[in-house]
Each structure stands twice: as structure tokens, then as C-alpha cells.
Amino acid sequence: MSFSSKTIERKKRSKAQLQSVFRNRILFMSALITICFGLLLTQLFNLQVHLHNKYTTLSDSNRIQLIPMPPTRGHIFDRNGEILATNIPSFNLTITKQNTSKPIDEIISTITQWIPLSEQEITKYQRIDRVTARQNPVPLKEHLTEEEIHILSVNLYQLDGVDINSQLTRHYPEINSAVHALGYVGRIDSKDIKDIEEKNIQNQYLTLTHIGKKGAEKSFEDILRGTMGFEEVETNSSGRVIRKLEQTLPTPGLDIYLTLDIRLQRVAEEVLGDHTGAIVAFEPKTGEILAFVSKPDYNPNLFVNGISHTDYNDLNNNPEKPFLNRVMQGRYPPGSTIKPQIALAGLEKGLITPTSTVSCQGFYQLPGSKHKFRDWKRWGHGRVNLYLSLVQSCDIYYYDLAYKMGITPMTDFLKQFALGSPTGIDLLGESAGVSPTPAYKRQSFNQPWFDGETVTAGIGQSYWLATPLQINQATTIIAQKGKAFVPHILKAIRNPGTQEFQTTQPQPITPVTISKPEYWQSVIDGMVGVVHGSQGTARRIGTGIKYQIAGKSGTAQVKSIAQNAVYNRNALAKKHRDHAWFTAFAPANDPSIVVTVFIENGDSGSGVAAPLAKEVINAWMTKFRAPIQSPSTNERAGE
């Protein structure tokens, strides 16, 4: 009994002990569980309250997609509202992979039964397809013809995910005309992307495929482009649009009016014909560029949708370099065209007067040197004053003047005439030309300066290099007696929505001041003599016109001629023949146009270039000078 009671006692104790152990363990476990719940709540608090903003942003960026809506590029018109660049609809055949129900190969082979597909188009499709998301359409064939559209629209119901898409394509109705001024748009390439990133305007190009590559299209890209619009849509995880939330319409690009007169441009292009060269014409009272011709030219429409390799190679390998914008990037020795400016420098510095004379015997020698600097006229011009020196383009007069003046005072003075310094035109990529200075020679050739080079610099040779644009500006400054304007091609900007015009104000250059203003007239008289004087180098063009032209011819040597040798046109390779220049303005007393004609290896400024300049001047003076109508009232502008 005592044993059993003891056993029971022990078991009761054991049970009580177990009870308390279990209670403790339960309490321990409850505490642990409560701590764990605390842990979960802490994490929730951290995520939901502390990091709430971060995750809200992430959540929105998950579901909200901005679909960029590209703006329409602005049109380009000439000064009279003639369309130079516009957008025309074109139709592409696209495949959206997400919506297709058959393998791509099968789809392509089906399409081939309806319309021809080149190997090139298929490879191009595959290349773009690889880098495009499933839900985006990829073009298979671009620029469908009417006939192809008909065949396809009848048959496309058989294929899912294949559509005809329309898009606007840049079109240049004037084809080759003014291509160097106008430029063109092309597909954005890696270099453009770099530029865009540098300017930090990637947002503006999200879905734009084209960008201005050259000329006005490039220079006024920011005006023409417009502002990207956005459509805010909610998408699911596979990118399918569930609904539209909001949309900001794109702002179309602004239309621009160029200062060009396409009629004058056509005349200039016609007269230049097959010559390799340039013609540029200004309205001197504003600095507006009326014509901007560089030959040979090319068709900008080829570039809009990617030029073919053959076409590109043909252009690129052409020895006449059609891509070179000769007006503002071609650098040539200016020759005698800059004599009026050098004469002004001599007058201003008191080295010559309008009446002082120099004896010209056909050659010039530096003191203590036997080297003969020859005049273009073997026997010389006799005694020449300022007027005759310009009219006959006497070289000896300017050899002497340059030597007396010294190279640096001369180049410094001519810098005011945009010779050796850029004109500041509003097109990108202008060349500054070269001033023949000892510093330039040292830098480029690491050679010392010789006096002989100062002498030849006096007739626009030596190291002088200038663009036709610079020569025209130098002439304009004389025509305007020092008060000219920076040449520009942007005349006005028009908002296509509000039809509001904003005209570009001409920007005056730093005026060139001459101590005796009558010197301007002395030089202009000389230039009038070139055309209208009895001995003028370009006297042949002075007939049959009711107004006076003031001009200056230039025949710039490309290859120096040995002592005592004679320039023989036929003995020289074409690329070594002289460049022909003629720069002129009219009417001489109240100029309304300044023209410079440059013909590469054209031989004779007065013989070849001058008649072309007269054609252009005459077309302007007699036909196009009076504006037909102001652009704001132009009906076609809205097209």
C-alpha cells in the first residue's frame, strides 16, 4: 500500500512537473511566436511605410508605360512660300510578332506569293526583328506601291499580325535644287545618338527615326522637330495595353521659311550647268541668302529612307565630290576678287590714295631679289592708279601695296570682311578659310615666312583660302559701305497651328569703319569700271542692262607657274587649271543683290564666271526682285 501510494505520489509529482514543463514550453513558444510576428510586422512597416514611395514608383513603372507619340516635322518653304521640304504618307508592310499565328518563315513565303520581296528586305527585317519587342511592328517592305497595296489588302485577312501601316516620309519636291542649303533627313545613326546624348535631349527622339543630317534640316533641327507627345497607358506584364490613362499630344514642328528664292535658285543652277562650282547670292540690305548653289548636286530624297550602297558609292566616289558644300565649305584661293578689300586697306592705312600711281611693267621685284613676280598681262599696264588697278586687275599695283603694308596689317584688316574669319551664317559647318599669316604657316608647315609670300598675298594667292560665301560677304560689305549683315538663310518661323509668324531679325555685323567714307566710293567706282569701263576685265557683261553692275573678276592660280613660263590652259591637267571667280553687286549705287560665282578649274574669271553672274543678277533685277506676295498671305503655305 505504501509502495503503491509512493508510486502514485511519484507519478502525480511527475505529472505536475510535466504540466509545468509543458506550460513553460508553451509560454516560451508563445513568446517566440510573438517575436516572429513582430519581425513580420517590422518588415511590413519597412516596406509599406518606410519604403512606400520607392515601391509605389516601382509599381507605377511596372504598369504605366509612356508611349511616345512622334511629332510631325515642320515644312520648309522658300521666301515666297514654295514648298522645299514636306511630309508625304508612305505605306509599309509590317509584322507584329505577338499577333502572328503562324511561323514567320511561313508568313514571309506566303507574302512572297503576292508581292516580290528581295533578299535584302528579308535580311533587313530579320535584323530589326531581333532587336524589337514582340508587341512592336517590324517593317518587312517599305514604300508599297498602289498596286502592291491593292493586292495585299485583298489577301491580308489570311495572315494574323501582318498589317499595312502608313507613316509620313520626308519629301523634297524640288529634287536636286538647293540640296546643299536644304540638306536632308536620314535615319538616326550612332553619331547622331552621341550628339543627342550630348545635348541631353534623348526624350525628344524616343520614337523619331529621322534627324536632319545636313544643311537647313540639320541647322534648324530643333525648330523643325517639334515636341514629342506621350500617351500614358496601363499595360500588363506582357506589355499589352489595358487602357489609356492620359495623353499629351505632340506639338508639331514649326514650319520654316528660308530666304532662298527658288526661282532665282533654279536660274543659278541652270546657268552653272555642268560646271563644278558654286553660286551664292545675297540680298545685301538684310544679309538674306537668295541663292545657294553648289555643283554637282544630288537627290536628297535618296537619303530619307536609307540610300542604297550603289547610289551612295556612286556619289561618294565621284571625283567632283557632290557632297562637298562648295558655297560654305569649299576653300579656294580667292585671287583678284579680294583686291577691292586690299585697296581699301591701303587707302585706310595711307599707303595709297585714289590718285596715287604705280608703274606696271609686267613684273615686280623685291628690293635685292632677282625673283620676278609677274603680272597676268605680260607687258604690264603702264602707270596705274587705284581705279585702273581694279578695272584691269593689275597685279603689280597690289604686289607693291601688299609689300608696303606688311602681311599682318593686311590680314587683320581683311578679317573685318569675313576673309580668314567665318561669316557667321546660320547653317552649320561653315569653313573659316585661311588667312596667310606667319603664324598660320608656322603652325601648318613649320616654316618661316618669306616676304615673297606677302607679295603674292596681295593678289589673293599665297596661303589665302576663302569660301564663295566669304567672298560674297566681303563684296557685300563693300556694296553696303561697311554696314552689312550676317548672312542668313532662315527668314521666318511659322507655327502651323496658330499660323503665327516670327520673322528672323537680320543681325548687323560689326561695322567696318573707314576714316574717309569717300574711299568706299573710290573702290566701288573701280568695281563699276570692271564691268562698265572701256578697259574693264568683264566689260562684255556690261551691255544690255539698264542698271550698273559693280564687280570684280578673279582667276586664281591652282598651280604656281615657273619663272618665265606661260600659263597654258591645255598643257595643264584639269585639276590644275585656274579657278574662275566673279563677284558682283547691282545696282552699283543702291545694291539689291550681291552674287559670287565660282567655277572650279574654270580658267577665267572674267570670261567664264562673269557672264553667269550677270544672268543671275539680271534674273533678279528684272523678274524676281519684287516680292510676289508676302508669305503670310500665301495659300499654299498651309499644305
Binding site: K11, K12, S14, K15, A16, L18, Q19, V21, F22, R23, R25, I26, M29, S30, I33, T34, C36, F37, L39, L40, L41, Q43, L44, F45, L47, Q48, V49, L51, H52, K54, Y55, T56, L58, S59, D60, N62, R63, E234, T235, N236, S237, S238, I242
Partner: protein, 378 residues
């Protein structure tokens, strides 16, 4: 030093005691189920069929719970070895006739019903351990401990080989808590903890499949693989974080409706809850869970019977383990382990198993032992 406790002799009280249910616990469970159906409706994208199917399963579960609740604990105890045996056999059978889903053999097709034996094992294994321990003197001796561990390891190994790491870990946890409640000496616990700490690197090197390693690595740095392994964690954290203090509102989850978060109605439903109801809503849900756990512990603690105590404690701890692993995984505290959120996640077997386990708790509540009960002397 009296072990007289008035509560032990009191008959079950409460509104639902007639149905052998504890009113408080039952109402708490019903609230969670109601929350579950509400959230599921939203997480499934407004699919009423899914919600109905889930409701039907809950009905079946509650019915099963009632049956278990009416069964006295000693009968449950006496049936335990058979239950365990059947579960082990079906687990072994799986290797021969199992249906392969997603590369693992988990399902057994019985023509009439398809079920996962591992789901049964989550209940059978801790019951067997509790059964074994309750027939021995407690606290367990070393030998008893080894035997209990053996009972644990066999089902664990079988499930782990399916492979189903999540369930295997649950079984392991359930058995170990049963051993813990039996009064396992602290020195053993500390010793095991040290052993585990040493063994972890070794298991990492040799014991884990690549996909499991990936899950752990992804957890440590989900951003390293945002479109691959880290995608789910990142998306679920976005869902939780974007919910904020008060949530986006019911049916307004963008992460689920736009399908950014995969498995949003099953394993990741916790994230949707947090997204739609915010910190406040999820705190309410976690509080319900916490109250359920505390109520269960209270009920279990009143029981005198060691088997009841052990299995009740283990079930409750397991219930917590489910919640913690799921919530921890979804909120980025733990690696991704396929564990559903109890009563909320969509899924058949798990809901029924849960109600079965709560049936045992109810049964313990409904059948207080008479004072003279001498079960412990066996």
C-alpha cells in the same frame, strides 16, 4: 502543492460546445476564412468560380473538423499508428505510381480523388511522434529521443526526395516541436543548434539542389536577377510596398490584375493582401492569426493528457510555421519555399488538412479528461 485545477474538471462551455467546438477559436477561424475568400476574389481577378471552389473546400474542411471534434482524443490516439502507416505507404507508393507535376512526384491518383500524401504526412508524422512520446516517461530519455527522431526522419526523407523541400521542412518542424513540448532538455537543444550551425555550410555544399541554392541566393540579393529568380520576390515586395499604410483598396491591386506577380492567388496571396489593404489590413490579419495561436495554446494547456498536449502544441506551432514561412518568403525575409498561407491561399488539400488539425484541437477542447484518467501510467 496541489495539482487541483478547477478548469480541468469544468465541462466544455460556450455557445458551440454542443457541436464540440470552442466558440472563440471557431469564430476566429471563420473570420480568417472570410478574409481569405474576400482576398481570393480579388487575387484571382474577380473569378467567382475560384472563390466558390475554395468555399466548398472550406465547407468540406469544417465538416471534417466537426467529425474529428466529435472523436475523443483517445480514439484519435489509438488510430495514430494506422494513420501514420497508411501515410508512409502512400508516400512510398508515389515513387512507383505517382503523377509527375512540374518535375516532382507529389500526387497520388486514386481515380476518385487525387491527393498529396505529403499533405497527410504533415499531420501523421507529428501525431506519431506525440503518440510514441506519450507512451514513454517524460521528459524523454536519450534513447526515446533517438527513436522519435527516427520517426521524424523517415517521412522527412521521403517527402524531401519527391522533391518537396517546403513540406519536408514543415514535417521536420512539426515533429521537432512535438519533441520540444515533451520537455526535451535544453542542453540537447543547444547542442543541436550548435551542430546545425556547423552542418549548414556542409548541407549548402552537398545537400541542396541548384534551384534551392538559387532561391536562397536570390533572397539575399533579389535585384541580381530581376527577370529570373528574383522576379517573384521583387514583384511581391513591390506589391507589398506600394500598398502603403491603408492599401490601394479591395480589387485595386495592380500587381495581380495586370499579372506582374505570378501565383498571386496561391503562394503570393499575402502580397496582394498587403497591397490592397495596406499595413493596417495586414496587421489585422496577422493579429487574427496570432489570436488563433494563443487560443489554441490556451486550450491545449488545459488538457492533462501528454498526447493531447504534444499533438496540440505541435499543430499550433505548425500553423504558425506556415504563416511565418509564407509571410517571410513573400516579404523577402526567407527564401522562396512553396508554403501556402493558411486559410487564405487557394488550394485544396492544404485547407482540408488545416481543418483536420484544428479538429484535433477542438476534440481536445471538447473532451476534458476525468481527473481519474490514468493514461500517463501506461
Amino acid at each position: 502543492m496541489s495539482f487541483y485545477d478547477p478548469s480541468q474538471s469544468v465541462r466544455p462551455k460556450g455557445l458551440l460546445s454542443l457541436f464540440h467546438l470552442d466558440t472563440t477559436l471557431f469564430l476566429l477561424l471563420l473570420s480568417v476564412c472570410a478574409c481569405g475568400l474576400t482576398i481570393l476574389y480579388s487575387a484571382s481577378g474577380g473569378n467567382l468560380e475560384v472563390v466558390q471552389a475554395q468555399a466548398v473546400r472550406m465547407g468540406i474542411g469544417i465538416f471534417a473538423m466537426l467529425i474529428i471534434a466529435f472523436t475523443p482524443p483517445y480514439i484519435i490516439k489509438s488510430l495514430t499508428p494506422y494513420f501514420f502507416g497508411i501515410s508512409i505507404i502512400s508516400l512510398i507508393l508515389i515513387f512507383f505510381v505517382g503523377v509527375e507535376v512540374n518535375g516532382s512526384h507529389r500526387w497520388l491518383d486514386l481515380k476518385i480523388i487525387r491527393f498529396q500524401p505529403s499533405e497527410l504526412m504533415k499531420l501523421a508524422a507529428p501525431m506519431m511522434v506525440a503518440y510514441y512520446l506519450s507512451t514513454r516517461n517524460l521528459p524523454p530519455s536519450f534513447l526515446v529521443l533517438i527513436t522519435s527522431l527516427l520517426i521524424t526522419v523517415i517521412p522527412f526523407a521521403l517527402v524531401y526526395h519527391q522533391p518537396d523541400l517546403g513540406t519536408a521542412l514543415l514535417i521536420l518542424f512539426a515533429c521537432i516541436t512535438a519533441i520540444f513540448f515533451s520537455g526535451l532538455k535544453w542542453r540537447y537543444i543547444i547542442f543541436t543548434a550548435i551542430c546545425v550551425a556547423i552542418a549548414l555550410p556542409i548541407i549548402w555544399e552537398f545537400g541542396l539542389q541548384d534551384y534551392q541554392k538559387g532561391r536562397v541566393l536570390t533572397l539575399l540579393n533579389p535585384e541580381s536577377d530581376p527577370l529570373g529568380k528574383g522576379y517573384q520576390i521583387i514583384q511581391s515586395k513591390i506589391a507589398i510596398g506600394s500598398g502603403g499604410m491603408y492599401g490601394k483598396g479591395w480589387l485595386n491591386s495592380t500587381q495581380a490584375s495586370l499579372k506582374f506577380l505570378p501565383e498571386s492567388s496561391t503562394d503570393f496571396i499575402y502580397a496582394i493582401t498587403a497591397e490592397e489593404f495596406g499595413f493596417v489590413g495586414i496587421t489585422v490579419l496577422l493579429s487574427l492569426y496570432w489570436l488563433i495561436i494563443l487560443r489554441c495554446f490556451y486550450l491545449v494547456n488545459r488538457s492533462q493528457n501528454p498526447f493531447n498536449k504534444l499533438i496540440g502544441g505541435s499543430i499550433t506551432a505548425c500553423f504558425f510555421f506556415y504563416i511565418f514561412v509564407n509571410a517571410g518568403m513573400v516579404s523577402g525575409l526567407l527564401p522562396i519555399v512553396g508554403v501556402p498561407l493558411p486559410f487564405i491561399s487557394y488550394g485544396g488539400t492544404s485547407i482540408v488538412t488545416l481543418f483536420l488539425s484544428f479538429g484535433i484541437i477542438m476534440s481536445i477542447f471538447a473532451h476534458p479528461e476525468p481527473k481519474k484518467e490514468k493514461e500517463y501510467t501506461t
